[in-house]
Symmetry: D2
Subunit: 451 residues, 4 copies
């Protein structure tokens, strides 16, 4: 976190690990100020090291500057060359430092005068239009910015005053009296003391000061290009109670499950999910199919997330340790198991084996998203093509045989789009990036990284 | 953990914190041996300090001895006086040290000769019949023991040989070829490489050596007393896929939910649970009532368990941070929220408020166990009577008003017993401790602690 | 440290590592009380583990008891058997636990009644007369005890009141107004706010309460045995400004150096020491011989003590890193290098080589104590006989050749005794243990350890 | 440390704390390469934070660059403005980052072409001639550079091949067979496996590659300015066995002590030092005066250096804890106590009080350097003028009265210069910075820091 009291002497506290471990009461007390930005990094392109922790802070000729970045620059190689070519040394390989130094550099003559930061941000949008959501803090303001494609999410919330009854009751512990504004990648983080206000629009620059929030500009995507909000936020990344494009993520996932039931029905006694990622889709599948919904696996929360585990081998043991089959709903039953997505496919086999050993008569796998086939260069950490199960196997029949499933079926790309876009106002401009499913990249094929 | 290679030179590794933090690869590699016992302490009576970590190890006149203990001695005061009176200094206040030293002491003449450990264990059962499940390790054997009331659980499992097909597939990482035996408080811990075998019986002493397991004795409860297995293991403590008395805990909880629907029906659009503790009961309630089952709250797993939090105030904020309402299933709906139990009642209010702010039309609370009213002296950490919500309020109507619920209802004691005992073979002797619900203590009123 | 507020609920804080790392401001603030004892353990017989940290605390039938122990029980094997034979389990191999449990046990009929702790201590002195200095704390008193041989040191100091002028000036930070008493192994620890009072006598039991200090008893050594204060405290262990038997350690070491100059003179230009252990003896050698005293080696304090280093190889590199030769006093000169003692002899060679490379014309080694040849069973950590350089080489000539010295000479045993005893009042009973030099053990040959 | 295997992918390991704590065996093993630079920072101007740890590494348009810096830029404010004015953001306030970015920037047209690093270094010398010793590492070379005034030290050493006899013996643990070169602030760091070669000259740029070392250029100080090597290195900072300008620091300090005895003689029984800083000067004073040299204070090495302690109050207690008076040399004696310098004067009073309480008849303080009166802007951490004792008191008489000394006298500035320059070849250009003593700054009065 970086916090300002209105001067260029920012207070900074950063560290590696979970938020609760990095921030002690003592370190929080030192972060005095009226505005601040924070960042919780899930390392993708640059290494997981202290030096890459965000926000990135520099002192420029126009004062202190802190930048927090969600996303990944598709053309980082070209931008890096430009910045280095101006005689700047870069101390890390992170996009955040690159963006920060690019914002500091004197723009070509005539374009930007002095500390005109919105002009500098517009200039950055030309140099690197994809993908980022940014929080740029100066001593007395924050610019909240989404890239012109709207690839990464960003939304505004309002800090509610304490004399509002519902808040006094809700939190029980609020004693600051001012209103304020907040910006976040996901609206779920606003609970319980803030309220969702609206999304930052694709290409929009919102200025936040003590006088409130102000929309400075909305930059359209490059000519001939469409908006491309990451569809995988709906499928996998976002928390179910977050809101994008006016709709709750959970609702979208329920519709994915319903669509899946329509596309791939099967006779069974019980529908359940791989907890908790498939819960919403399982609810939708049960609703559409009329097959009862029930817990099939009990999750042991004391084991970490499989996405992060280092080796395949360990992953397989861990899966088995992580889930305990519920005999009541499994034994002697034909079951449909819903998951939100299948990436490497390492966990399906062990889970099916657990269910069969617990007495399941049939196990049908239904996946509430299409097969993942292509890499993402916009900030989502997808394994190499060779590691993706969808690129390894001929078809779902072979897949089912390999993992001893009675059947495996995926939601179609069209089905997913329908589920996502059905409830969006057709007048609103919208568009979704499905590159990881279709290979159609919104900004074209990215250049190679160099330095 | 304490491990033996067959000599009196036990290898010991203990520490404070989560298992994954205490045991590194390095420390595990040093724990060489053929037999071993471990303990994961949830501090109840004695303080949470390094010195109270189990297993407790001593060197006695008959060799090294390690003891791991689940439960709490009801008459610890009297036993403590006896042990101190023999001239032994006790370095902690833990029951485990007390039990260990009591086992070491020379029994009164004529009763026990030399290293006859089963006789010493029987003697201990007379001195302190309630409550404990024990693992007592000597250099070449382990005694697995339940107290004569059968208050705390204990069960045997079998380590499966790797040439069994299903295991090779299931774990993928097993390369030791021997069979073996394991003993645990809960059968859920046997997955994925061990198999549930049977319960250790109330009062039973099971000897585990390299030659296998052998039942040494089964000591009945004191004359005039009945078996008293803790009913709260079914309600709250145990993992849903554990097995007690021949039945899966999840099944019992489903029956509690069904019984609850019968006792306290209500018109509603959606049944859901406080995740994840109320899941099974909500499933039962939905099944019995026909009202659809759905997720109402999304749980943020990065916040700790409320039972452990230090202050009431913090607890209230944390609850609100921990759960995000799912608009899809809440907005404009009449909802029934199921929880497994209500202890202090601190979390109900904030949760209802979250649901109302998310647009719930009605919120009915149904609790799948009777009100908790009395302290436990047998190892369950229940707050003082003043802190228990059931002792603070006149009735459920007042409770409902206080927390802005449309209604609150509990399962009856009889209903709970029915749900628990319905599927148990009526021929098997059985009996359950309901002291925390009814004030009827199986071993009478405990003496006071002294030292 | 263990501290008492006058009740049996002692406050305890213990840990591994340096005092400054184990005790934070926070942990010190929790140690409230009027009396307390502490211990800084240099691990000798029992392993360096948390569980062996002293003081050892137990709750006995007569209340809480804390014991801190300096020394090592020669007959620990026999005492251990006795304690185990009474049915006590011992959780460590430390002498301190053994002593504590032995004090708790009910003494044979007729000898001790109830909580008569001095009688229990006298009984312990019979069971194990060698060697210990003990601080035994009860809720309202401390017993300071030396073994009947007087093998380990112990002395009393007085905490000076703050209204004394010299203290107010001296410390500048003293704001408690009471006087008090303190007991320590070495008087040097009394500075700057306490004053040396007197030694605890061999075999003496001193009781310290809020009413002051009181000598309870002085137990003589077993019949036919003499006092045996460890002579190696003078030679090596004690800080130079500590006082034993009425004389400053530094003075004794100066006399050792003078005696050494008399016994083994040599023509040279400069006398210096291996800093800082040989400083006092070098001063004495220079004084006696008239050869100028000067620094030969500059010590780098950022490298640890060689006694503790794990491998021989590392030790040799470390020695070279630790000392830098001072050209001004070494180049072109004949030098005499004084050390207080030579144990393994690993460091002499590398040091001589450093001096020769720095241009020394001659290097003569003079050691201010006799060769170390025998193990100590009374608390001094001396390597095995095979590791002692004095047991490896034929004579000092061979030694000198091996390490490229022009000569090496030791102080004689008689010379050491003379230097130590010269200034002691001949009327006072005294006697010194020289077992490590002569093999003459004051309590006979110790039994073997068993358990 | 930063290490290169000949590519731009430098291996970096940095941390806060002592070298032995920051570098584990594991982290050292990862630092593979043929060349490397390290830095041990004693924080002066920039804060003691992870982010300010050196070497500072950036990736420039001409490849990776690592910079380690000893000293402080006098005109950092002006240079900072220049760098910021070029559009570079600076992430810290450290001179090292400033120097690194200044080296990266494209120099004004015509002056430097592309990756001509020596030209860039010469350009830096013009922008900021005072003060720095630098190690600048590229993928395959290191530039060792001293500023044109020669204010900070830097010297070259040679890594000796292992087949040389003396090395095989000296280290006992050398198994790499190549020769190599090393550069360091102090020659004492070369022991035991490297050999002092020569100083890097003031203004010299030395290039170190696998082909050896090569002098690229020697830049003279600005016109009208003289060389200005920090005289305080001789007085206080350097280790006694380091070599500057062809002479051992210890020898210079001995001459300071002799000069002091000549300037300020006094009748006394014993000369001693505040260990260990005054040792050499006490030796010189004793030699010149004929008064015997002896230890007066025994130092407890387990207490930190007073220069670093946070509060005055704590410092006074700590001083008393740190030194124990040696009665043998103090009691009943007239003593002269030598210290190398007096900065804040906090420790003199407590030390004198210790000596008087130990029975000293007279205590005369002699300081082997002139009074410290002015701040340093070239890298030496001197307290503010108000904190310097020499600026607080009228004269040494008042000083002596305040601290209860019988007399206090300082070495004169001329005396110090004589002692330093006496043995330097009069033909060699030389010159010393005495700014902290005289207020005469070699580069004029520094500008103020701004950003």
């Amino acid at each position: 976190m970086v916090v300002s009291e209105g001067t260029h002497d920012f207070h900074i506290h950063k560290g590696m690990g979970l938020v609760k471990d990095v921030f002690s009461k003592e370190s929080i007390m030192k972060l005095k100020g009226n505005i601040g930005i924070g960042h919780n990094r899930y390392s993708t392109s640059a290494k997981s090291e202290q030096v890459n922790c965000q926000p990135f802070v520099v002192y420029s000729m126009h004062g202190a500057l802190a930048v927090a970045h969600n996303g990944e620059l598709v053309n980082k190689g070209a931008l890096r060359k430009q910045v280095l070519g101006r005689g700047v040394g870069l101390s890390t390989q992170s996009d955040s430092e690159l963006i920060t130094q690019a914002l500091c550099l004197i723009p070509p003559d005539g374009e930007v005068n002095g500390p005109d930061w919105p002009a500098r941000i517009r200039h950055l949008m030309q140099l690197a239009p994809l993908s980022f959501s940014l929080c740029i803090m100066l001593k007395d303001r924050i610019y909240a910015v989404r890239d012109p494609y709207g690839n990464r999410p960003l939304c505004l919330g309002k800090i509610m005053a304490t004399n509002t009854d519902e808040i006094n009751d809700g939190s029980g512990d609020m004693d600051r009296n001012e209103e304020g504004w907040v910006v976040s990648s996901e609206s779920c983080s606003f609970l319980p003391i803030m309220k969702y206000f609206r999304e930052v629009l694709p290409g929009e620059i919102v200025e936040m000061t003590k006088y409130g929030v102000k929309s400075i500009d909305v930059v359209p995507p490059p000519i001939g290009k469409s908006l491309a909000f990451c569809i995988f936020e709906y499928v996998y990344f976002a928390r179910p109670n977050s809101i994008f494009e006016g709709q709750e993520v959970y609702s979208v996932r329920v519709r994915c499950g319903m669509q899946l039931a329509t596309e791939h029905p099967v006779q069974a006694d019980m529908v359940g999910s791989v907890p908790e990622s498939g819960n919403a889709a399982a609810f939708g599948y049960s609703k559409q199919s009329g097959i009862p919904l029930g817990e099939l696996l009990s999750k042991n929360t004391y084991v970490g997330r499989t996405f992060i585990q280092p080796s395949n081998r360990l992953r397989q043991i861990n899966v088995a340790l992580k889930f305990g089959p519920i005999l009541h709903n499994v034994k002697g039953k034909r079951i449909i198991l819903i998951d939100d997505s299948i990436v490497r496919g390492n966990t399906v086999g062990p889970i099916i084996r657990l269910l069969r050993r617990a007495g399941a008569k049939e196990v049908h796998i239904r996946v509430a998203s299409p097969p993942l086939k292509y890499p993402c260069f916009m900030g989502i950490n997808i394994p190499t093509r060779e590691e993706l199960i969808a690129n390894k196997l001929k078809d779902t029949k072979e897949f089912a045989q390999n993992v001893d499933a009675d059947s495996i079926e995926y939601l179609s790309v069209e089905g997913l789009k329908t589920a996502v876009q059905k409830e969006i106002n057709p007048d609103s401009k919208t568009g979704h990036c499905t590159a990881c499913l279709t290979g159609e990249y919104p900004g074209g094929i990215p250049d190679e990284l160099t330095w």
